[in-house]
């Protein structure tokens, strides 16, 4: 029970148990896919999935950063919507602004996230409520501006969503790159360590001289930034700003975060789990599409998988 031998060799789990669970689920889906459909197990299809996963990937990455510092962002979907309308609207009027507007849109998202974080720190109101309020404000504003898909972007901009480097989709590549950079920063930077510290033990973090408020602002800004990147991807895909396109994204962004084993409440979890979660969700809907299963049944299946996966984590945690 008590450790008495201080010279015991360092033991380390080879991998997070939650990573293993989601990886196994992923393998199971791929295996079922190979068995049930000829078209599923092709490079071409996997590359399509990678391309389509980007929107969810960006949104979930942003959500994950907020969740790690102990928060949650329910305005992700609204930021996605607002950034599509903002980008397509401005570029439609001034096509020359296309490239600056990519940065402008990302900055816009980050600014909304920053305001979320600022309001949470200043008021002490729960992030759930603050970000819900932000979502309502953004959605309302967008719908006052337009009820229909609107605006437009130069045709070449669809390269971001559909373009390929060899066989690899650019959007998927950008997503993988974002995950890699965030993974590295979380694991090997002072700021990354601070993210986990603030999420897991806010009071202890403060008393260890960590500037918690700065970390929280950074997390929400990143959440907004990646939501806007998701919006940018949608503009590239559809060519317009759509006042409803982000609606399902808020809840969708939370699913891979949970599947990836991040603890709601903060302080624990590996961002790679979230990436696997994104792949899992994308592959499942891809497979079910091939099998002509309706979207509504897909939702039911997704719900079952979440509950199943998380119940396994809970069992594991009890054993530890």
């Amino acid at each position: 029970m008590a450790f008495t031998n201080t010279n015991r060799p360092t033991r380390r789990l080879p991998l997070d148990p939650s990573l293993i669970v989601v990886a196994l689920l992923l393998a199971a889906v791929v295996a079922v896919g190979f068995a049930l459909s000829d078209r599923f197990g092709t490079t071409r299809n996997f590359m399509n999935v990678l391309e389509q996963a980007a929107a969810l990937g960006f949104a979930s990455l942003g959500q994950a950063l907020v969740v790690i510092v102990g928060g949650i962002d329910l305005s992700i979907g609204a930021v996605v919507t607002a950034s599509t309308v903002f980008m397509a609207g401005v570029v439609d009027l001034h096509p020359a602004l296309m490239i600056p507007m990519i940065f402008g849109t990302l900055l816009f998202g980050a600014a909304i996230g920053f305001l979320n974080g600022f309001a949470i720190i200043k008021t002490g109101v729960h992030p759930l409520i603050v970000t819900l309020g932000t979502a309502s404000i953004l959605n309302g504003t967008v719908l006052i501006y337009t009820l229909q898909p609107t605006g437009g972007v130069p045709f070449w901009f669809e390269e971001f969503a559909y373009g390929r480097l060899g066989v690899i989709p650019i959007s998927g590549l950008v997503m993988l790159l974002c995950f890699a950079v965030v993974w590295f920063l979380l694991r090997y930077s002072k700021t990354g360590r601070a993210f986990y510290a603030v999420g897991g033990s806010p009071e202890a973090a403060r008393l260890n001289g960590i500037q918690s408020n700065r970390i929280i602002l950074m997390a929400y800004s990143a959440g907004g930034f990646f939501a806007a990147l998701s919006g940018t991807y949608f503009v590239s895909r559809t060519g317009v700003g759509d006042p409803r396109i982000g609606d399902p994204m808020t809840l969708a962004s939370i699913t891979p975060v949970i599947l990836g084993g991040l603890v709601l409440g903060g302080g624990k979890g590996n961002i790679l789990g979230v990436l696997l979660g994104v792949f899992l969700i994308s592959l499942i809907s891809n497979l079910l599409n091939y099998m002509n299963v309706s979207t509504f049944i897909q939702w039911v299946i997704q719900g079952l998988i979440i509950i199943f996966a998380v119940s396994i984590y809970v069992q594991k945690c009890k054993k530890l």
Binding site: A2, F3, T6, F184, Y188, G200, E203, L207
Partner: protein, 503 residues
């Protein structure tokens, strides 16, 4: 009243109780002592029917009993009061006392009149006055404890188990509790009393049983024992001196920390003192006197409205925790799990948390260096942890505390403020912590020790400040340091203060 014979309880891989014989009589206060992990809680839970032993028999009130559920034990008259009180804060005291068995009128509704009357009677029988109509959340911890005891007395209680009842109270409140427990004993209730504090065992217990590593080391009348014998039984070896030798610091040099007229409302009203390098200065006082708040106000984790502070000769008046750490002032907080440890991070990350910059190169965190630093602290303070990369949550309180000592001793070498450095730690680890504190002072740090355990203050410090209601009311030096003088300053001045307020 209760007799356990040859009780053995095995958890997967661990024998928690091994062939334990134990007996407690009606009308006695029987203390159970032992270090963390010695098997105290397993023993209680076996008595309470929460665990079913693999071997052995339980005799209760003259009959052999086999509890299948805790409810059976409860119905037979065994009541347990756990360390964490289990009360409903929004309900009144009386409602809590009668929870689950409220008296009914003939219409089946709750008979509040009878309930409040009987609650009053029960509280009176404990010699304690409080309003049974008051919501529990408005009561002090001591009053809440009385409610818990009153709750246990509804119905026929033959055996009452108190698990560390004084963990959250001190001074006058604890005395009230002792009086009440003695009253119950004189009414013929068998009381099993569990505590870490040796002093109170001597003032309250009739007999003592010591557990060590799941075995009964011995049961003795309290008269047969003294402090040293008891400690030796608990630790399993002779501990000649719990406290390291005192050393008077060199007061000719300038103090490393000076505090003048510190105010941080509402808890800190007027605090001034000097702290010298190499000194172990005590800060004593009752719970709620504002001691921890002084520490927070100096460290910069709580705003202050007034006062001048110098650290190492330089003015230090608008601190943040970051500034304090950078200037070599560390603060080991009272609430180990909430404010000290980062329970989700590994041991190494816990050690380096306040000075992470030292471990950061242009390419990011130098994990190898960090692990190396943690290894050093493991060796230096003999921390029993599987390794730098293992978690900290499951470790014993003593080892968690040693990790925090590793953290702060490494980060801050000028001044260390230690708030309740041995709270909830067993005796063996306490001795080690005292040695560590001595060593840190010898290495040149000024150490301010805040503690509610007077023997600790008396045994460790060469100078003691006493606080009462936010102000320093006395300073006790060298040979004058005793529990009596400290208590005098911590409480006696209240008469003067009351007069002052009246004028």
């Amino acid at each position: 009243m209760i007799r356990l014979d040859g009780i053995t309880k095995v958890f997967p891989g661990v024998k928690s109780l091994e062939n334990v014989n134990f007996e407690a009589k009606a009308g006695e206060i029987h203390a159970i002592l032992g270090e963390n992990g010695a098997g105290k809680s397993t023993l209680i839970k076996t008595i309470a029917g929460a665990y079913i032993p693999e071997e052995g028999t339980i005799h209760f009130a003259g009959q052999e009993r086999k509890w299948a559920t805790p409810k059976e034990a409860k119905d037979a008259g065994i009541q347990i009061i756990y360390q964490e009180l289990m009360l409903f804060p929004e309900l009144t005291a009386a409602e809590n006392i009668f929870i689950g068995k409220m008296p009914r009128t003939r219409f089946g509704t709750i008979d509040y009149k009878t309930m409040y009357r009987r609650a009053n009677e029960t509280l009176d029988s404990l010699g304690h006055r409080l309003d049974p109509r008051a919501p529990v959340r408005d009561l002090s911890i001591a009053d809440q404890q009385m409610v818990e005891i009153a709750k246990a007395l509804i119905g026929e209680t033959k055996l009452l188990v108190l698990d560390e009842p004084t963990a959250a109270i001190s001074g006058r409140e604890a005395e009230l509790l002792f009086e009440c427990v003695k009253l119950l004993r004189d009414q013929g209730v068998c009381i099993i009393y569990i505590s870490h504090r040796l002093e109170e065992i001597f003032s309250i217990a009739d007999r003592v049983t010591v557990l060590k590593d799941g075995q009964n080391v011995g049961t003795h009348d309290i008269h047969e024992l003294d402090r040293d014998k008891l400690v030796a039984m608990m630790v399993g070896r002779e501990v000649n001196n719990i406290f390291p030798p005192k050393k008077t610091p060199n007061a000719d040099v300038a103090p490393v920390l000076t505090v003048r007229d510190l105010r941080a409302p509402p808890k800190v009203k007027d605090v001034s003192f000097d702290l010298y390098a190499g000194e172990i200065l005590g800060l004593a006082g009752l719970v709620g006197a504002g001691r921890s708040e002084v520490a927070h106000a100096i460290f910069g984790s709580m705003p202050r409205t007034d006062g001048t502070v110098t650290l190492g000769g330089e003015a230090f008046n608008a601190p943040t925790p970051r500034d304090s750490i950078d200037r070599g002032l560390g603060f080991l907080t009272e609430d180990r799990k909430g404010e000290g440890l980062m329970i989700l991070l590994d041991m190494a990350a816990n050690v380096t948390a306040p000075v992470l910059s030292e471990f950061t190169t242009t390419t990011g965190l130098d994990r190898n260096y960090e692990v190396q630093a943690a290894e050093d602290e493991i060796k230096r303070f003999r921390i029993a942890v599987p390794g730098p990369k293992s978690g900290v949550y499951q470790l014993s309180g003593g080892n968690q505390q040693k990790i925090l000592f590793g953290r702060w001793a490494r980060a801050c070498r000028r001044v260390l403020i230690l708030d309740e450095p041995t709270r909830g730690i067993d005796v063996g680890a306490k001795v080690e912590i005292y040695e560590i504190i001595r060593k840190l002072a010898d290495e040149g740090a000024g150490v301010l020790v805040i503690s509610s355990e007077l023997p600790e203050i008396v045994g460790l410090c060469t100078r003691v400040l006493v606080m009462r209601e936010g102000s320093v009311t006395g300073e006790v030096v060298s040979t004058e340091i005793s529990e009596e003088t400290i208590m005098h300053y911590a409480t006696a001045a209240s008469a003067d203060a009351a007069q002052g307020a009246a004028r």
